[in-house]
């Protein structure tokens, strides 16, 4: 048993629902108890969809358990097929149905429906949402392409030079982070490179579209959590290469363009002509982000301590942006999906931090308190933590709530994505002038540590300041003199936690049992950043 206050991912059948709901003519019969239809709300409310998810639930109740729940499944399958006439059908169990073992997939497969029926095996007690999405996407496509798989060792025919190269965009789904606009942004990039988009899937794709996947020359693995299982299989079975770069951030977008151009055999130089790393000025990139970050207004962002926790794809990309494009210091990096732990560990090593691989919300909270960052880039869950600790926060990944499916165009991929990220990460920080004034005048009656930044809505001021957290837990913690403590309070709240910890560890390393004003400044000189 695992105690969970908040869960980063839903059960795997939610992942399967995301695939079905992203597509157009696919239906999903889910063997599930009454109540599991709550999942519809994720799509109709968070994603604000204007139609019901294409999901039929058996919604069995206790009284059904005495009878034949298997008959319920068959009735639901027959009825769903009759009513919705899908081009293919997914059939699977939720966690409770898994326990009563009706083999719903096998039952449906035995019903001789005139459409492909994909039986989903999604172990709900060991796997989670993203895995469920990846597995469903893979099995569905594999079923649909079964008769097209070329003989092993057969060579993929070369592209007819008369036609433009074609790519599939794989991985975007509903309830993914900003997938809708990322797709538009990447389409634009590809078009500028002279590359056509063959199929975007699962978002907006039909069952027949999936059958056309092999018509592309290569795949763009846009959201590996959902698409890497499939792109791996397409690479092995159809000889289709796939991209590895996630085009989030200016640098990564440039790398992505180069990678895609190489796979497509096109020349990226017209598109990258103006993209010179280190060039100053407004015209230094198709994105405004590099100039904004170089403009003197952003100088105060230098070395801001940032903690990043998200799905692996967005966490790794965000860390690179934070370090290379915003000038932040990455003080923590982690992800909630064990499947991608290795990638995150590699990335963390580049920034000299230890990767946090955990789906335990309390562990993440502890790590953030200990790192005492000035900014948290995370999920909806980290908003809870950041609020409690009184730290600025921006959301960079699912799980999300309704405010992160905005009406406006807001990709995070590509050059426009970099613009969006610059704005949304800087916004929660106290602005430069305020930061200076806070340091100069400590006792202002309306403009002080406890008051939220003046450009932010006045939300709950009674948060536990990060400065007071995660410190002095060891027995050998040196004591603060009254003067020392008073002086510490003069340090702005968003770096006070770090200052306290540094001073204590400095005192400990020198064998000092009390901390005076002098110790504080000795430590400051020692750790000067």
């Amino acid at each position: 048993m695992q105690l969970t206050l908040w869960t980063y991912e839903g059960p795997p059948h939610i992942g399967a629902m995301r695939i079905a709901t992203s597509m157009r003519d696919l239906h999903y019969v889910l063997h599930a108890p009454q109540g599991d239809t709550y999942a519809d709300l994720l799509f109709t409310m968070i994603e604000r969809q204007d139609r019901r998810p294409p999901v039929t639930y058996t919604t069995f109740q206790a009284r059904d358990l005495g009878g034949s729940t298997a008959e319920l499944v068959k009735a639901a399958v027959a009825e769903a097929f009759e009513r919705f006439r899908p081009a293919a059908l997914l059939v699977g169990d939720s966690c409770t149905a898994e326990l009563i073992q009706d083999q719903s997939g096998a039952l449906a497969a035995g019903m001789q429906l005139p459409i492909p029926v994909v039986a989903l095996e999604l172990p709900a007690y060991s796997k989670k949402e993203n895995w469920g999405a990846a597995e469903t996407f893979y099995h569905l496509t594999r079923t649909l392409l079964a008769d097209q798989v070329p003989a092993p060792e057969s060579k993929r025919p070369a592209r007819d030079p008369a036609r433009r190269p074609r790519a599939n965009l794989l991985g975007p789904t509903v309830l993914g982070f900003r997938c809708r606009d990322d797709v538009t942004e990447i389409r634009r990039l590809l078009d500028a490179l002279g590359i056509d988009v063959n199929v975007v899937a699962p978002l907006g794709a039909s069952v027949d579209d999936l059958r056309r996947l092999p018509d592309a020359d290569f795949n763009i693995d846009l959201y590996p959590e959902v698409s890497r299982t499939l792109t791996g299989w397409l690479s092995r079975s159809f000889g289709m290469p796939a991209t590895r770069t996630i085009p989030m951030g200016v640098g990564a977008t440039r790398d992505f363009i180069a990678e895609v151009a190489a796979l497509a055999g096109v020349d990226p130089s017209p598109l990258l002509a103006a993209e010179t790393p280190g060039a100053a000025g407004r015209g230094s990139s198709a994105s405004r982000q590099p100039w904004y970050a170089r403009s003197v207004d952003s100088t105060y962002l230098t070395g801001k301590r940032v903690f990043i926790f998200a799905d692996a794809t967005h966490a790794i990309a965000a860390a690179r942006i934070a370090a290379e494009e915003m000038g932040f210091t990455v003080v923590g990096l982690g992800c909630y999906a064990r499947d991608f732990a290795r990638d995150v560990r590699e990335a963390a090593a580049r920034y000299g931090v230890e990767a946090l691989i955990s789906d335990d919300y309390l562990e993440v909270e502890k790590a953030i308190a200990a790192a005492a960052p000035e900014l948290v880039l995370g999920t909806q869950m980290e908003r809870h933590i950041a609020k409690r600790l009184g730290i600025a926060c921006a959301v960079i990944s699912s799980p999300i709530h309704v405010q992160d499916v905005p009406a406006r165009y807001s990709p995070v991929y590509g050059f426009e994505g970099a613009n969006v990220l610059f704005d949304s990460w800087v916004h929660p920080l106290v602005m430069g002038l305020e930061e200076h004034l806070l340091q100069m005048f400590r006792d202002d009656f309306e403009f002080n540590d406890a008051a939220p930044a003046s450009h932010l809505p006045a939300v709950a001021a009674q948060t536990m300041a990060v400065a007071e957290l995660g410190m002095s837990d060891a027995d050998d913690a040196p004591a603060w003199t009254a003067d020392g403590e008073r002086e510490l309070k003069k340090i702005p709240f968003f770096v006070r936690g770090k200052a306290r910890r540094n001073t204590e560890s400095f005192a400990r390393s020198r064998g000092l049992s009390t901390i005076t004003v002098e110790t504080l400044y000795d430590a400051k000189a020692h750790f000067a950043r």
Partner: protein, 426 residues
């Protein structure tokens, strides 16, 4: 204001013959676990630990996720493959987890172990677990258990199951008292308390109170006044402890509130004159508030999908006090004993349905094209996109809607979709 005799109190006979459309099929409803979302705010010293799967955890956080808590007072013990392999192991795990949890939250006085579909299907004995933990944790913490599973309970029935756990703990009393049963918003509870006081009904207790540790006493001189129609099991358990059930419609709108208060007033021998003196000003106030909404609602047709068991009561209010035309009133569960007074006040020519076959019911909605459809959030936006005005039903459970001074707000909840449609020009 002395129209006391116009307020109909139905007799038991008659309403039982009303035909009910019973359907089975896909049900688009919440499970009882959802009750935790409001119960944990009411019971400030209680923690709700669901023993279930990741689906259960996901449900609660999806329902409560926009609230940002410093420290939520609910959580899920998620069963893993290891727990499913052997039962003894699961019991040890649960004990360990509860102790860890209580160490982290020393202010918790009552811990609810909440059963779910998975825990019930594998027959994890939470009653025994609660007993075991009580032996270890009492008197600091009391551990209770109930089922909020989807296979057993629908939405508000979770509250019924939770309140039911208090009944065996209640000490016996012979004192004359009035017990109001059902979780009410604090402001509503305070209003009712004042009104009972003014009526001279001094000894009033509310179940639940604001702290789970304060369990009221019960006995043969206790009059029960249910404030919510969905707490039937709790009410029957209280009756089994000797309490007397006062029958009344529920306190929605002026008529419902008056009849409800009157049931208590009669039992306590309050004179009609005294009753009128106390309720008169509030009734007049309510009429003013309702008059503002009536033009928006009168004559409009209404279709209610099953959700909370509040449907018959709300339909009665919307029909009788605001002039709405009822097409179908659906309820997940028709507890005749609990809503007999309401059924008697509903017109004869409506469809009263219990249970659900979602697709067929939606076919009926589309055929009837009601002016307003009351439904869950899984259906609201899709129906809006079809051009049908909707009122999402969950809000009715989360808003103060009982009593005189909320009647206008309650009407406004149904009028708002029309007001909004009238405003939007794009």
């Amino acid at each position: 204001m002395s129209n006391l005799h116009d307020i109909p109190i139905a007799t038991r006979s008659g309403c039982d013959e009303r035909p009910v459309l019973r359907e089975r099929g896909q049900r688009e409803v919440f499970c009882g676990l959802t009750g935790i979302v409001w119960l944990h705010r009411k019971l400030q010293d209680a923690f709700f630990l669901v023993v279930g799967s990741r689906t259960c955890a996901h449900l609660i956080q999806s329902a409560a996720g926009v609230m940002i808590f410093a420290e939520p007072r609910f959580g899920t013990a998620i069963l893993t493959d290891r727990d499913l392999a052997g039962m003894a192991d699961a019991n040890d795990e649960l004990d360990r987890l509860c102790v860890t949890l209580l160490e982290r939250r020393p202010e918790i006085r009552t811990l609810f172990l909440v059963g779910s579909c998975p825990s019930e299907v594998i027959k994890l004995d939470l009653a025994r677990a609660a007993e075991r933990l009580n032996a270890r944790l009492l008197p600091q913490v009391r551990v209770l258990n109930y089922s909020g599973s989807g296979i057993e309970t629908t939405f508000t029935q979770g509250e019924d199951a939770a309140l039911r756990t208090f009944v065996p703990l209640m000490p016996h009393t012979d004192a004359r008292q009035l017990m109001v049963v059902g979780c009410l918003p604090d402001i509503v509870e305070d209003q009712f308390r004042r009104q009972f006081e003014q009526l001279g009904i001094a000894n009033v207790v509310f179940l639940p109170g604001r702290r789970a540790a304060d369990v009221p006493a019960i006995g043969p001189n206790t009059d029960l006044l249910p404030a919510q129609p969905f707490n039937g099991d709790t009410v029957r358990a209280l009756v089994a402890r000797g309490a007397r059930l006062l029958r009344a419609p529920y306190p929605f709108g002026a008529e419902g509130t008056t009849a409800w208060l009157q049931a208590a007033a009669r039992a306590w021998g309050v004179t009609p004159a005294a009753f009128d003196a106390v309720t008169g000003p509030a009734r007049a106030r309510t009429e003013t508030a309702l008059a503002r909404q009536r033009p928006l609602l009168a004559g409009r047709s209404l279709f209610m999908l099953p959700d909370s068991q509040l449907e018959p009561s709300l339909a009665r209010f919307l029909h009788r006090e605001l002039g709405m035309r009822l097409i179908e009133v659906g309820t997940p569960f028709l507890d005749r004993q609990m809503v007999s007074e309401e059924l008697a006040l509903l017109p004869e020519d409506i469809v009263l349905s219990e249970g659900q076959h979602l697709d067929r019911q939606l076919d009926r909605v589309r055929a009837a094209r009601p002016d307003l459809t009351v439904c869950g959030l899984g259906l609201a936006n899709p129906l809006e996109a079809e051009g049908l005005a909707t009122k999402w039903s969950i809000e009715l459970v989360f808003s103060p809607i009982h009593g005189y001074d909320q009647a206008g707000d309650l009407a406004e909840l149904f009028a708002r979709p029309f007001a909004r449609r009238a405003r939007l020009a794009v």
